[in-house]
Symmetry: C2
Subunit: 305 residues, 2 copies
Amino acid sequence: MTEVLVTEVGPRDGLQNEKALIPTEAKIAFVDGLTAAGHRQIEVSSFVRPDRVPALADAEDVFRGIIRRPGVRYVGLVANQRGLERAQGVDCDTIAVFTATSKAFTLSNIGMNVQDSLSRYAALTRAAHAGGLGVRGYVSTVFACPHDGPTRPEDVLRVVEALLAMGCYEVSLGDTTGVGTPTQVRRLLDTLVPRLGADQIALHLHDTWGMAIANALTTLEYGVRRFDASAGGLGGCPFARGASGNLATEDLLHLLHESGFETGVDLRMVASAASRLADSLPHPLYSRVHAALRAQDDEFGGTSC
Amino acid sequence: MTEVLVTEVGPRDGLQNEKALIPTEAKIAFVDGLTAAGHRQIEVSSFVRPDRVPALADAEDVFRGIIRRPGVRYVGLVANQRGLERAQGVDCDTIAVFTATSKAFTLSNIGMNVQDSLSRYAALTRAAHAGGLGVRGYVSTVFACPHDGPTRPEDVLRVVEALLAMGCYEVSLGDTTGVGTPTQVRRLLDTLVPRLGADQIALHLHDTWGMAIANALTTLEYGVRRFDASAGGLGGCPFARGASGNLATEDLLHLLHESGFETGVDLRMVASAASRLADSLPHPLYSRVHAALRAQDDEFGGTSC
């Protein structure tokens, strides 16, 4: 199978920790640009408590403002019944629920342990399905937790199984702190793929330690054909100074397209959408391919060496 | 075989296009730091015409100033008899000769075509061997040439065969503009390794398009155990704005060590050497692992979030 589904997470995961105030109109234009680029699944915003994630407090306005292309999933993050109601209030048709593999991380991130989060999400998923919404699952810290250390693949398996059993149509495996390596990807997928198959698994990679593209390449060997990525490399781990959080959509698309996979997404249009958003940011983008494309354009335009 | 030889090219390839004036003492301290880190092969400087590469015009002073650990190869780039004599004048025991696969590139880089360069280097290698020096070969543009387009693997094979036949102890294959992808690495090594074996081949990767680590991972599958890398990601293609030239030694070492390979090189000591050199540079370093290590140190030191 040569088709890969890239889920664009820039508007939500990419911007949630952004310190700069980004105008709602800029976010809407960003999502519209990503839709125009051909993305089929876009994480638009988060219906969590605005005081917890103030950068995404305008979730309703963004959902109301964007142009929705039929067949494209526009995803909103949801942690509880209130969030689901907010999502339904703006006709969001796909929600994402998020937990992790480690007790310490789920406690600090969502204020409960892993098992309690799964119980809550089972009820939430039932309610969402009853309302006709699709539910995507997220599992953070699949390789290691900043508090609890290395993650056992069996612990990831258990959480993914629970999310699929409750009806999530896919589960995204998050290397939250970007510490994964090809060896760790193998260990994880050696455990997961024989039990779950490859069809409902996505990898959500961070490039903090420079391994994201190599990890994606290793993932492809297992038949997994779903990845999350963030236009311009927006977002990611806030403690990696001057660097490098989410795997950049441009870098992933370059790898995929050059390796013979089809995504339906136009690399240059993603880069354009990221460039326009970057006008609202106080820092540069983190994508190598983005920088190389811009340098090439400058060269062709005759403005640089 | 789990041992990998990493050739450190930061002092030469990393600095040759640097616009800032770097004090000779800083270069000497850089090489000494890389020696202390455990490198067994270090490209120190270039004995080409100083008017062509003014940044390395102090080659003799650097060679005279560095501490040489027995068993470590300190390499000087040489293009002709005059360069060989300069190298011998400072007891440089290993020279590197450099050509490319494409006529346009060799013409612009060394002023002759590929065949003429090989004839010249055959004579130069004989003279070097007669003087007791080792000779390393470089082939640029192994995936594509900025002027001539894609490179045929058979053309690389022919040049590598010629360099080995004249007595180069290893040949480094350069992705000069960083356009290589895992698919292209496979095509090249599918041609080379069955004919030449893997023992005398090194890969010299650039990260301009973000694929260097993935390319290294693919290379390892072929049994190739030699790579060039540049501390801090110094150097590289000058037209990639704000980015990303040579594969950073820190990033490569992280991949190798986490994948179970031994290099004998201390990652943190390489990063320290690069950090000290960076005090003389007007721009940041380009290594993700370097940035992540520094962020970690800051965190542990309590100076940042």
